[in-house]
Symmetry: C2
Subunit: 319 residues, 2 copies
């Protein structure tokens, strides 16, 4: 059995994150409304601290540690937004953070993590090495491991984004969130469930990393092998925890092609002047695509823009 | 003598634009505060309708026309944001618009103008031809000419952006606006003057099109010849009207180099996840540069982000 986050955990997370994470704005676009055939409300976690929702879960876990645990410091491994999230959350708590990053991670990402005061340990860019080095760092430092999604307090933290969206936009019929490891999507399930509102939850996933969609279809968790997508935040498999929540709470996982992701990303930039990363564009592509457009009785849909961290030197439509 | 816009004109413009132009948000960035050595408040006209402040002036003039004049339709020539502004404002008023555009204007800009229902007339991409074809269209249609900046009602319209900024951010010490033809910067002077607040007004200009800076230094209007800058919204010379307002109301025009503009644009995108065009980045570059940083007693500075219309296929740091 896995321990599931509760409405109480969400309430505690909201108190803990007050003043720590931004209450991000919700934006709309008449053009995108027209193209989707409904009213869309975009929750701008690209404007969140560190440029992504990940600061919510990491802060919730780290700020919730006992003083004794916190004194041990925290450890994580990530090449992406989670690394910055843990580094910043540890600084907020005033504790040490060790972050294992693959040696091929962009130097700008490494610099950002170090800029928050975390110590970076590099490893060979393969999963087995990442785990091995992390274990070693955990042993050497005696620190607490902060996983990117597979923890009830991480899920409860991510859920706060959707809880805000449900408060700020009345009468939503559905929310759509991208799904990689499932922290954000299971957070959406938790927030909707806790709200007791009649809101449907949809996942959005690249066809090139569609383990959640295949799991939903099979009725059992199917791990991702050989993911291949521009949406580099969505490569991971669901965990037992996130799958347990998602299978119960999610209406459907909509998949999108790579060219739909790139087109949605560019259209969103052009029309809203807001920068979203490919993983966020997956959710935009989902609501613009034919599968979602055909769904009835969803006049008002919230879309979670997961982040805005993009390498501006290499945009997918210029290469 | 030129007819100057008054505080009454500004008040009328604000009423006229209520519900027509967005009251755009003001954003802040701790990183940019740190780099500038003061608190910066960015007025996001990049999030304005048509993606630029130009909708304010064009709408103010067009909505203020008598019914008899409006019935004649409007005419303008522009390859940039003003073309879209006139097209959309004319549609709002429900009248015809003819827009003269150079034959080499990007097809996406032409499509946007036509998308608002305006009729586009192409001409050879030289100033003399643009004027000649415009005169011809004015004669044939009997329409009213809507200039991009050289009109008291255009200036009063642009001033509404700065009036909102002064209301939304208390105790500003200065506002900085980019200057091309001077519509926005003279609007800033008008708004500050009408507010009766002790706020200094600064212009920001590319060194490659620095007629305003040179005019301020010389104490007389010096037209721009051979402008050469990435900030394609700032190529024009001041008019007698805008110069008259600017020479009285502006503290100083700060100039920036091309590489400063590109660096400021990219930094702003990365840090705020908001897309600004090069002309807007000129104002950001100005407050980050040494000349402005050296100024004393300006702890709180408003910066007008003039627009966010960028050709995403060609970004200055990728070419």
């Amino acid at each position: 059995m896995v321990e599931l986050p509760t409405a109480d955990d969400l309430r505690a997370a909201r108190l803990r994150l007050d003043g720590v994470a931004h209450r991000t704005p919700v934006v709309t676009s008449e053009t995108l409304d027209g193209l989707s055939g409904r009213r869309l409300f975009f929750k701008c976690e690209n404007l969140q601290k560190i440029g992504a929702f990940k600061i919510r879960g990491a802060s919730n876990l780290i700020l919730g540690l006992s003083d004794a645990d916190a004194a041990r410091g925290v450890v994580t491994h990530s090449s992406g937004n989670h690394a910055q999230a843990v580094a910043l959350a540890a600084r907020t708590r005033g504790i040490r953070a060790h972050v294992v990053m693959p040696a091929n991670a962009p130097s700008v990402k490494r610099a950002a993590v170090e800029g928050y005061g975390a110590q970076v340990i590099t490893c060979e860019p393969v999963e087995a090495e990442r785990r091995r080095v992390s274990e070693q760092v955990l042993e050497e430092t005696g620190g607490i491991f902060v996983p990117p999604f597979d923890h009830p307090q991480i899920v409860a933290g991510q859920a706060t984004a959707i809880a805000e969206l449900l408060e700020d936009v009345p009468h939503l019929d559905a929310v759509v969130a991208p799904v990689g490891g499932g922290g954000l999507l299971s957070g959406a399930c938790l927030a909707v469930q806790a709200s007791q509102l009649p809101v449907k939850v949809f996942g959005a996933e690249p066809l090139g990393a569609d383990d959640a969609a295949r799991s939903m279809e099979a009725g059992e968790r199917i791990p991702q092998t050989g993911p291949n997508t521009i949406a580099d935040g969505l490569l991971t498999s669901l965990s037992e925890l996130t799958w347990t929540i998602i299978r119960q709470g999610v209406e459907r996982v909509v998949t999108v092609e790579e060219d739909e992701i790139v087109a949605a990303m560019r259209l969103f930039w052009e029309r809203t002047k807001l920068i979203i990363e490919p993983s966020a564009a997956v959710a935009v592509a989902a609501v613009l695509g034919p599968a979602f457009r055909d769904l009835q009785d969803l006049p008002r849909v919230g879309v979670v823009l997961s982040g805005g961290n993009v390498d501006l030197r290499r945009l997918p439509w210029t290469t």
